[in-house]
């Protein structure tokens, strides 16, 4: 579903690479947790996957479409939830969802079903007539998540999605991520919440100083580190890397 091959990125004239020759792969039905300390290269990687930044080297394909040579088809195949939900603030919730559905060419029937379903799940139906500007942080997060899922993307990318969500919405989002993957899609999300990654992810990618220092199943990572907790492993590998 998502294939990142030997991707590197350097900002400006810096000699230090923000992302250094990384390789990742997320298959259908998988949830990949992308973890690493601040400034490790998570956001840069996500920006390159979504086409916001161009890599200096390497290739990124989404469902077989190269993000550089076939960008529109590649973008059509993912839904993105950025780390800050302060977007489209002057649109009403419903206007935003219609806009996103139009951008991704979602049929009227599918959008009705999606908006009604997700509105109920996230308890957002009543608020859809209000401007996003008037929403709380959590409500903004929910509406952006709804927008990203309007076209039922093959790959769902989320940058720190749980920040600001109440426990119920947080639980529901994790359930949705699982359901989305189980339906034959893939999920990639970055997080600092190691316990969430521990419980939810099929695979973990641990990044530090631009390099992937581990990519594989969680059990494998734990076995390699004498059955320590993910938190202990994280502290250890990010300190020594």
């Amino acid at each position: 579903m998502l294939k990142i091959t030997d991707v590197s990125k350097t900002y400006g004239n810096n000699k230090v690479k923000a992302v250094d020759n990384i390789r990742l792969e997320v298959a259908a039905k998988q949830i990949l947790g992308f973890i690493g300390p601040n400034g490790a290269g998570k956001t840069t990687t996500m920006k390159m996957i979504t086409g916001v930044l161009e890599p200096d080297a390497g290739q990124i394909t989404i469902n077989g479409h190269d993000i550089i040579t076939d960008p529109i088809a590649a973008k059509q195949n993912f839904g993105y939830v950025p780390d800050s939900p302060d977007m489209f603030l002057r649109l009403k919730g419903m206007e935003y969802l219609n806009f996103m559905a139009d951008m991704y060419g979602v049929s009227a029937e599918q959008r009705r079903e999606k908006i009604a379903g997700m509105g109920e799940t996230f308890e957002m139906t009543g608020a859809l007539n209000g401007r996003i500007q008037s929403y709380s942080h959590g409500m903004r997060q929910k509406i952006i998540i709804m927008g990203a899922l309007m076209h039922n993307p093959a790959l769902w990318i989320l940058d720190e999605p749980l920040t600001g969500l109440d426990p119920r919405s947080s639980f529901q989002l994790k359930e949705m991520m699982r359901q989305h993957a189980d339906a034959g899609n893939a999920v990639l999300f970055s997080t600092h919440m190691l316990e969430v990654a521990e419980k939810l992810c099929d695979k973990i990618a641990l990044i530090n100083r631009g390099k992937i220092i581990f990519f594989g199943e969680l059990e494998e990572l734990i076995a390699r580190h004498d059955n320590k907790s993910l938190e202990d492993i994280f502290m250890e590998v990010t300190a020594n890397a």
């Binding site: 161009e54 059509q76 302060d86 649109l91 419903m94 951008m103 509105g119």
Partner: protein, 557 residues
């Protein structure tokens, strides 16, 4: 007191920093911001001179009649009204929407110190305006009555000029924020005040036109009769009344007493203000950031009827127009400049058109003979000039990327070609310009009744001119977008691209005027040159915005 001054310093640093800092070559530069404000100040100079001449004429006239203090009172009151209106717009940003109170309240400072510091900051900015106004009045007075006690008293008037207007506006704002929930939304507040200011501007223009039609004798006798409006203004801005009396006082002692009286009234005003602020401010400011979705509650049935699709291009244009019209700062600066200015100009010109007895200007204009080739050519050139000036003033596309701010990256991950997105942004600008041009041209066509062919030719000339500047503005904004801002006003008001477009539009219009004067003497030549030139420039702008612009957008991060 140390804490008070520390807060004043912090509040000022934040505001001045926001106003002055501009990104040049990816780095913050105070010099670039200072330069921009310098250019703005230079642009305001002609208006300053215009105000000076008006005040000078007024003072000269009243000085002859021995009523100089009456004239000083009028100008001081006008200044106070201006300060009042401007502070209605600016003070909420300092007192409420900066949202810093919630961070300051937990600190060990007294509430009165917080209000005091905020009031002091607002007052400092109002003093800047007051000093400019009083200096203009001072020179006008000096020119008419010479240097001496009178002019010295005029300078002293600056001390109290902004205090009462700022107190009034701040108390009104506090009452509104405390009791009217709707205005707690910065957008809605700016809308209300913006429209009120425009309404005030229209009333002022109409009132001024009425005054212009009066002869000097009638004007003097009207003002000497102390009309209700003037008596009311003297009572409301009592410090001005006392300052004006001091200017006209016969002896030094009386003048000093009156100035001290003015200062005393200002101090009393401040005491009352702090008492009111204590009761109103904190109850209004707490919970300002609390949010809950507004609007009518949506139901499942509403979703079934409301979830409808449209083409990508149309949906994108609708999104652009909604955002543009719902953002007060963008609407006031980019849209209203095009839609409202023609109306203001029309109101200003109507009395001139109808004045003059038997042969009014309107009748003269209506009798224009378009069969004269020179006149027909002038008409075409004039339409091109109008189109260029208005398209340049629209600045919708010149700020289209900047207004996206840090969220510009959304443009990059949507599965929509950059060209389509840029065309949609340009289309939103063209729609507004089209409406603005219609507001201007339809009444002109009715007034002049030009031959159909000439009217069609004129409209054909305006189209490439509008498209050219619209896409050129988009290209400029793609070249140097101002994306790093905290307040949308920075993207619109402190954006060099916008100044470039306004002056660029005027420059090209001036070029067309010169060409028209020297070479375009027949309608056919004028049409061929303006339409042909317009098409060529339009093609260039389309290439720059869509081909080069897409590449720029691709590299933007």
């Amino acid at each position: 007191m140390r804490k008070f001054w520390a807060m004043v310093r912090v509040f000022l640093t934040v505001i001045v920093g926001q106003a002055l800092n501009m990104k040049v070559g990816g780095k913050e530069s105070k010099w670039a911001g200072t330069l921009l404000w310098g250019v703005v100040a230079l642009c305001m100079l002609p208006m300053g001179f215009l105000i000076y001449w008006m005040i000078n004429d007024l003072y000269a006239f009243f000085a002859q009649a021995g009523q100089i203090s009456l004239a000083v009172g009028i100008t001081l009151n006008m200044g106070s009204i201006l300060i009042f209106m401007l502070s209605l717009m600016a003070a909420p940003a300092i007192f409420y929407f900066s949202k810093d109170v919630e961070f300051i309240l937990p600190l060990p400072v007294k509430p009165t110190q917080i209000v005091g510091a905020k009031f002091a900051v607002a007052l400092i900015f109002e003093y800047l305006l007051a000093v400019v106004l009083v200096v203009i009045m001072f020179f006008a007075l000096w020119g008419n009555v010479g240097a001496g006690m009178i002019t010295f008293n005029m300078l002293l008037a600056a001390l109290t000029l902004p205090i009462l207007p700022l107190i009034y506006s701040t108390v009104i704002i506090m009452l509104l924020m405390r009791f009217v929930r709707m205005v707690r939304d910065p957008d809605k507040y700016n809308w209300i005040v913006g429209l009120l200011s425009l309404g005030f501007a229209v009333v002022f223009v109409i009132y001024s036109q009425d005054m212009v039609t009066l002869d000097e004798e009638s004007l003097l006798s009207m003002l000497m009769g102390e009309p209700v409006a003037m008596t009311a203004l003297n009572a409301v801005f009592f410090t001005n009344h006392l300052s004006a009396l001091a200017v006209g006082a016969a002896d030094f002692g009386t003048a000093v007493l009156l100035q001290l009286g003015s200062l005393g009234v200002a101090v009393a005003g401040l005491v009352i203000f702090f008492m009111l602020a204590k009761a109103l401010y904190f109850k209004g400011v707490i919970g300002l950031s609390e949010s809950g979705a507004g609007g009518k509650k949506m139901t499942r049935e509403d979703i079934m009827t409301g979830a409808v699709g449209q083409s990508i291009f149309k949906a994108y244009i609708m999104k652009e127009i909604r955002v543009l019209f719902r953002s007060p700062v963008a609407f006031m600066n980019c849209v209203l400049m095009v839609l409202f200015m023609p109306i203001i100009l029309a109101i200003s010109f109507v009395p001139l058109l109808t004045a003059g007895g038997d042969d009014t200007l309107m009748e003269v204009l209506a009798a224009v003979d378009f069969s004269d080739p020179r006149i027909a050519a002038i008409a075409l050139v004039a339409m091109a000039i109008l189109s260029l000036t208005m398209s340049g003033a629209a600045t919708i596309t010149a700020s289209a990327i900047s207004r996206e701010g840090r969220n510009f990256f959304v443009m990059k991950y949507l599965p929509v070609r950059y060209r389509t997105q840029l065309n949609a942004k340009a289309a939103s600008g063209l729609i507004v310009i089209g409406v603005g041009l219609a507001i201007v041209f339809v009444p002109l066509f009715i007034l002049f009744q030009p031959p159909v062919l000439l009217a069609v030719g004129g409209v054909l000339i305006t189209l490439p001119a509008a498209v050219f500047l619209n896409y050129l503005g988009l290209y400029f904004d793609l070249l140097k977008p101002k994306l790093d801002w905290d307040n949308e006003a920075e993207a619109v008001k402190q954006n060099m691209n916008i100044l470039l477009m306004i002056f660029g539009g005027m420059g090209v219009a001036a070029g067309v005027g010169v060409a028209g004067w020297f070479w375009l003497h027949t309608p056919l030549v004028a049409f061929a040159a303006l339409f042909g030139g317009g098409i060529a420039l339009m093609a260039l702008a389309l290439y720059l915005a869509l081909v080069k612009g897409s590449a720029l957008l691709k590299r933007l991060h």
